[in-house]
Amino acid sequence: MELIQQLVNGISLGSIYALIALGYTMVYGIVKLINFAHGDVFMVGSFVGFYSITVLDLSFIPALLISMIVCAIFGVLIERIAYKPLRNATRIAALITAIGVSLLIENGLIYIRGAQPEAYPNDVLPMDKLDILGVSISSQSILILSVSIILMIILQFVVHKTKIGKAMRAVSFDSEAATLMGINVNNTISATFAIGSALAGAAGVIFGIYYIKIEPLMGVLPGLKAFVAAVLGGIGIIPGAMVGGLLLGVIEALVSAAGYSLWRDGVAFIVLILILIFLPQGLFGKNKREKV
C-alpha cells in the first residue's frame, strides 16, 4: 500500500513536471530554442497565484486563471523583447540569452521583494483523506491531477482542432511554407509562448498548493527536471512531454520509496544522460533521416 501511495505522489509531481515540460517542448518545436527562462515563468506563476490568494483573497480557480493570464503575457513579453531580435542569430546566441533572461527574472524578483520564501496557505483546497481500496489519498492530489489532465486535454484540443493550433504545427514543421499559406509566423510564435507560459503558470500555482513553500529560485530545479522530461518524451513532441513528465515523477517517487530519497534529483539527471546516450530522439521521437 505504501508503494501505491508513493505512486500517487509520483503522478502528482509528474503532472507538474508535465505541465512545465509542455512549454519547453512547444517552444522548442516552433523556434528550436531551449527556453531556460521557462522554469522562472513557473516561479512567477507561483508567486502570482500566492498573491492572488493571500492579498486578493481569491479561491483556487480564479487564482489559477489569473496566474495563467499573467504568465501568458509575461512569456510573450520575454519572447518579443529577448528572443525575437535573435530569430536569425545562431542557436547558441539564443540559448545564452535564455540563460541571461532566467538570471534576470530570478534576481529581478529578489531585488523587488527580497529572497525570503513564502508559504501558501494550507486551506486553499479541502484536505480530506479519501480511502480508496485501503489506500489513503488526499483529495488535494486528486484535484491537482484532475486540473492537470483537464489542461492537457484543452491543449490537445487547441493544437489539433483550432486554427491557431494548426498554424502552430505548420510553423513548427516548415515556417517558410507556413508563411506562403498566409500564416503570420511572428504571431504564431507569440501564441506558442503564451500557451506554454500559461501552463507553466498553472503548474506554479499547483506546486505552491502541493508543496507550500515558494521562493524566487524555486523554478531552477523543476525547470531543469521538466527539461529532462521533455527530452525523455522526445523534444518538440507534445504527448511526449506529458508522458515524460509523468514518468519522471513516478521514477522519482519510486526512488524515494526505495529509501534513496537523497538520490532523487541525481536519478532525474541520470535519466537524462541515459536517454541522450541510448535514445536521443526520446520515447516518442521518430529517428528520422534527413530527406534531400
Binding site: 486554427k163 505548420a170 511554407a177 499559406m181 498566409g182
Partner: protein, 235 residues
Amino acid sequence: MLKIEDINVYYGNIQALKGVTMEINEGEIVTLIGANGAGKSTLLKTISGLLKPKQGKVLFEEGSIGGKAAQSIVKMGISHVPEGRRVFANMTVAENLELGAYLRKDKEGIKKDMEKVYELFPRLLERIKQQAGTLSGGEQQMLAMGRALMAKPRLLLLDEPSMGLAPLLVKQIFNIIQEISEAGTTILLVEQNANLALSIADRAYVVETGRIVLSGNADELTSSEEIKMAYLGGH
C-alpha cells in the same frame, strides 16, 4: 496583372537578380526557363514576398507589393507552390488543404473549393485522412498545388512542378496546370523541362545568371535556334 520593373535582389552580399523587368497579363501562362541557379526561384520568391527586392518595383494590379509581408501578398491573390512541394508532412491531406485556406473566412466557399480540388486531383480524395508525408512525390505535388488553390489565387506561381516525377505523372500534372489556367487563374511557371513548359505557355522569359536575356511568345522561342541549342537539346 503583374509588373516587375528593374529589380535587384540579394542573398546577403550575393546579387541573385540583376535588373529584372517582366510582365504577366491576366489569363496567361508565362514560363521562366533557364539553368540551375539562374535566379528563377529567386524571382518567384520575390514575387511572393519571401525575399525583398533591394531596388525596383513589383506591382500587382497597380498596387506595389515589393517588400510587403508574404502573408499580405497571399491575401491579395498570389499563391506560391514552392520548389520541392514543401507539404506539411506531419498533417493529413485534408489539414494541408485547410491550411491553404488559412486567410479565408467563408466556410461555404472553402468547402466548395475543397470539393473542386478533389475533383481536380481525385488521388487526394482517396488519401484524405493520410499523413502528407506518406504520399508519393506526384501526390505531394498535387497536394501542394491543391493547397495553393485553396487560397483562391488569381496568380499562381509554380516552381518546378515536374521535379523528380515519372514522365506519365509529369504529363498529368501539366494537363492539370492547363485546366487551372482555363478555369481563369493566371500562371507563372518555372520549369527545367523547357520543351514541356513552352508547349503549354503563352509567353516565356529566359533567365541567365540573374538577368533576363530573351523573351517572347512561346512558339517563337520554341523555334529559335538559340533556345534550341541551349535549352531544348537542339539538333
